[in-house]
């Protein structure tokens, strides 16, 4: 039986656990599991301090209030807490950056990695918002509903990811 102090669990056990989260999502919240629209909720909430006009724009306004939007923000915050707890219990807390970046970028520079991470986050969320979903909303949830757009978006996501990854050094 998997234990909280294990370093690693079977991907199949973890995948089943994630898939079962659809039960409370659909029965309690009447929505599917997702994470990327929470970036609009938090980003637009912060930006609205500097630019109150943003809150009057349709798209931002739809994300700023309501139980489902803040539920999703809480899910993402909960992910950080769950990972923190899990890493502490197994003695697997991480520091600095992953050694994969020295391999992939050919440089151990953290400044370079931080700049790339920022740009990557921007592209990732711009893409997720254009597609209206990410690996969770389109991937885990959209594919589980056999949604045509989600199957397309996930195919494009892997195509873009694989093409980009092959431009980096082999890890």
């Amino acid at each position: 039986m998997p234990s909280l102090t294990d370093r690693a669990w079977s991907p199949y056990f973890a995948g089943i656990l994630i898939g079962l989260l659809q039960i409370p999502a659909f029965l309690l919240l009447d929505t599917a599991l997702g994470t990327s629209s929470s970036y609009v909720t938090v980003g637009a909430s912060l930006a609205a301090f500097a630019d109150p006009g943003l809150a009057a724009m349709d798209y931002a306004a739809k994300h700023l209030s309501g139980a489902k939007n803040w539920w999703q923000v809480a899910v993402v915050a909960g992910i950080a807490l769950g990972a923190l707890l899990s890493a502490r219990l197994s003695g697997m807390r991480r520091h600095g950056i992953s050694p994969v970046w020295t391999r992939a970028l050919g440089s151990p520079s953290t400044a370079r990695r931080f700049a790339l991470a920022f740009a990557a986050g921007f592209i990732m969320l711009a893409g997720a918002r254009i597609a209206d979903g990410c690996t969770s909303g389109h991937g885990i949830s959209g594919m589980a509903q056999l949604a045509v757009g989600s199957i397309l978006a996930v195919t494009a996501m892997f195509a873009g990811g694989i093409a980009t990854a092959f431009l980096l050094r082999r890890v």
């Binding site: 995948g15 659909f26 809480a74 949604a147």
Partner: protein, 208 residues
Amino acid sequence: MSVLAAIAIGLAMGAVFGLALEKSRVFEPGVILGQMQLRNFLMLKIFLTAVTTGLLVLAVLNGLGLAKLHPKATLYGADLLGGLLLGIGIALAGACPGTVAAQIGAGYRDAWFTLAGGLLGATAFAYAEPVLKPLLLTGGPGRITLAHVTGLPFWPLALGFAALLVAGLVALERWRPWRAEIGPAADGLLPQAPPAGAEPLTGLRAAG
């Protein structure tokens, strides 16, 4: 439901999600980049297992009339372009929008920059949305699923796809056993083959 109750449920669900992401090691940039370079298939295993479980859950909940489905609207241009950008971002971030939070929880420093870039990207989209709407975000066939396309009820289709995915996962596990993909430091990094002409690294060979 009150916002506070929704937040409490969200935190609890997120904690389980984060635990599963950390324990499965799929939050590791090495696992995600390894998947995109087709060297490590842990991400696909977790992803397809979660999809399969979701198909079974929704076949039951929807089949018994306990839950309505919430498929997203199909917009061909937006799904393809957005998906492509999302994939480019995932490869360079070594993270997805959800696993960024797990990286922060586990302690990776660069994840804070991915998060900040993501918040800015999502906010930029909120500003650009009125311009993009007529170009990319309108039209399309609506919230269609394969059930609409085939004219079959959702639950038998979902069970059929779940069975196909299980068969695929069994084959994937036979081809690449998951225990060999975790890596010595549990970060998905596998020993690299020594460059041609180099001294053989016996330690790495033994670990591999």
